[in-house]
């Protein structure tokens, strides 16, 4: 995942998290064609269709054999549709789950923000003013006390950062699952696509055959039109409906994945900016109060999550040099620290706005998907009723099957 590391190399550039657009409604008529069917497969399927049409027309229109051939049409693609439907039932809980996960990460981010706000130098008043007992007697240094508060907060912060890393791993895991699911779905859609091609070819073939038979055998032409062709058209509609749902689910999965990637970026950036601010604090404490601030836990975290923090390390080295150069003037380091805190806030704000927008487009996608799935369920119920009524043609491999 190149993006997660690329952006963190320079933490000073603005973080933009773009929520993906919601997945539009896919009309069944336009659903076919996403997964290409290879030409040699097409010719094989066409051959199957031609054989089937010949075989069908050779039977007596009133014979049970004719009926058995027609049953093959009603069963055509049943397995493919069932498989695709199984997949689409699973997408519905995925976006919801992803949103729940986001809540987990979101809670951690909120907690991080609260903790960091407590350390923000801009909320502490004038840190450079001498501290006085009863407002009169000089007593210690405000600045020294302020930097001491880092030491007590570091355990809490490192715990939150570790949790955020865990959350990030979960998001990565989710994305891996989505990749696998999309791969399966792609294969399933390929099979559906084959069946769509086949049913369209059947439609054409039967139509033509019926037209030919009109002169020689009108009774058979009628039978072909009223049974076979009727079922083929119904079946085409079923296949296209399922195809639309699958395509929509496929795109929805991509949307969830993109959201996760953006969120991972956000989490990474929040961790980096936080650690960056703490490191700045260490440097500033050294420069201003000549105070050796030891943040062991943060350093430990730093090495364990070295990969994402690496970029920050580079940035911090530059900053450290700069801060040391400016150490002569006393107020500038404090400003640097304030900027570091501002960086954290900016990151968190952009995550928040991202989440609002992403949630919105996710909701839209889920709503459309739900509608489509309900529609396709009605189709599937009908299909199942039909196939149970006709009984699967036991034994003899159906001629109307997709290629493996």
């Amino acid at each position: 995942m190149a993006t997660t590391t690329d952006h963190s190399t320079n933490a000073t550039e603005g973080l933009t998290l773009t929520p993906p657009d919601p997945v539009p409604v896919i009309q069944p008529e336009r659903a076919a064609g996403l997964v290409p069917v290879a030409d040699d497969q097409k010719s094989k399927l066409q051959q199957r269709v031609d054989e089937y049409v010949e075989d069908l027309v050779a039977q007596d229109a009133a014979s049970p054999e004719f009926g058995r051939r027609v049953d093959q049409i009603t069963n055509m693609g049943r397995r493919e549709i069932a498989e695709a439907a199984g997949h689409s039932n699973r997408f519905l809980d995925r976006p919801v789950r992803a949103m729940d996960k986001e809540a987990g990460v979101g809670a951690d981010l909120a907690e991080l923000r609260r903790t960091v706000e407590d350390l923000d130098p801009s909320t502490k008043g004038n840190l450079l003013a001498p501290r006085k007992l009863f407002g009169v007697i000089p007593f210690g240094s405000k600045l020294r006390n302020y930097f001491d508060s880092y030491t007590s907060a570091q355990g809490h912060i490192s715990a939150i950062l570790a949790r955020l890393q865990g959350g990030k791993d979960e998001l990565l895991m989710d994305n891996a699952a989505i990749d696998v699911e999309r791969q399966n779905l792609w294969a399933t859609m390929g099979k559906l696509e084959q069946m769509v091609f086949m049913s369209k070819a059947l439609d054409e073939g039967l139509e033509q055959k019926a037209a030919d038979l009109d002169h020689t055998d009108p009774a058979k032409a009628k039978a072909v039109r009223e049974t076979a062709l009727f079922y083929v058209r119904q079946r085409t509609q079923d296949l296209l409906t399922q195809m639309a749902v699958s395509v929509q689910g496929y795109l929805a999965l991509d949307l969830v994945k993109k959201n996760n990637v953006e969120l991972i970026k956000g989490v990474d950036r929040a961790s980096t900016t936080t650690v960056g601010a703490l490191r700045t604090a260490v440097t500033v404490a050294q420069a201003m109060a000549n105070q050796k601030l030891v943040l062991d836990q943060i350093t430990a975290l730093n090495t364990t999550t070295a990969r994402i923090i690496d970029g920050t390390g580079q940035m911090m080295k530059d900053n450290t040099a700069r801060i040391h150069a400016q150490a002569a003037s006393s107020t500038i380091p404090l400003e640097t620290l304030q900027r570091a805190f501002q960086n954290i806030y900016d990151t968190m704000d952009s995550i928040d706005t991202f989440k609002v927008k992403a949630l919105d487009s996710m909701k839209q996608t889920v709503t459309t998907l739900e509608g489509e799935i309900t529609r396709s369920k009605a189709y599937i119920a009908r299909t199942q009723g039909q196939s149970e009524g006709t009984g699967t043609s036991a034994g003899g491999k159906s001629m109307l099957e997709s290629l493996d």
């Binding site: 995942m1 690329d6 049970p64 990565l172 891996a176 699952a177 990749d179 696998v180 399966n184 036991a394």
Partner: protein, 235 residues
């Protein structure tokens, strides 16, 4: 309509035959062991009875003739009774509908074994194929939820559809089994077709059951890739 050759793999069947021979051998050994145990017990009982009678005769100074006849008869009855009962466990149980999900596959296999002799030879090939697939699905059934829809389907197929199919074939008089019906196929062919469908369905169920695990493995692999490999590549 002979079954398409793709459904029956000769290699698989050969392996299945070997498996079956081994299974039958162990079953036969177990049966004989049982018989020997029974016979041993009967002999020991007869000897004990004889010694008992003999000792009693010595202590009492002779027994009346009627007592000797009675004891002899008793000896015979005991010997015969113990040599015959308890019967060896029947190697082929009834229809496997009461077996738990985990024993279902094994029970079905045993049941098919008992029907093997009455089935036509092409069906025997298919039955061997079914046996192989049952072996394959057995470990998967262990972790299956007993009340889930998948378990219901497996149970229905193995304890309902399969026995019904075979029974409805065996109920046909042997002379009629090879006579073509109105559909143009003989009952034997229909049986083979039906068994092939069941065999394929067991395979499909097995694939369905392992799909979740396959996906989980693929997901884990993909996760490791994104988590460690891609990050390293981009650095």
């Amino acid at each position: 309509m002979a079954p398409p050759p793709s459904r029956i793999s000769k290699d698989v069947i050969r392996a299945a035959r070997r498996q079956r021979a081994a299974r039958l051998y162990t079953a036969r050994k177990a049966r004989w062991a049982h018989r020997w145990r029974r016979l041993r017990r009967a002999i020991v009982a007869a000897i004990v009875l004889f010694i008992g009678t003999f000792t009693a005769a010595l202590l009492l100074g002779g027994l009346p003739f009627s007592a000797i006849v009675l004891m002899t008869l008793l000896g015979f009855v005991t010997f015969l009774g113990l040599a015959t009962f308890p019967r060896s466990p029947r190697p082929w149980p009834g229809v496997p509908d009461e077996a738990g999900l985990t024993e279902l596959a094994a029970a079905t296999e045993d049941w098919l074994e008992s029907r093997r002799r009455v089935l036509p030879s092409p069906a025997v090939d298919v039955i061997d194929m079914i046996a192989v697939r049952l072996e394959q699905i057995t470990p998967q059934l262990v972790s299956l939820d007993e009340t889930g829809p998948a378990a219901r389907e497996v149970r229905k197929l193995l304890s309902e559809h399969l026995p019904t199919l075979v029974d409805s074939y065996t109920r046909i008089a042997p002379s009629l089994r090879h006579r073509p019906g109105p559909g143009g196929t003989t009952p034997s062919q229909q049986l083979v077709e039906g068994l092939s469908v069941i065999s394929d369905e067991i395979e499909t169920m097995s694939i369905d059951l392992s799909r979740h695990d396959l996906d989980r493995l693929a997901t884990r692999g993909r996760y490791l890739e994104t988590r460690y490999l891609d990050v390293r590549d981009s650095n």
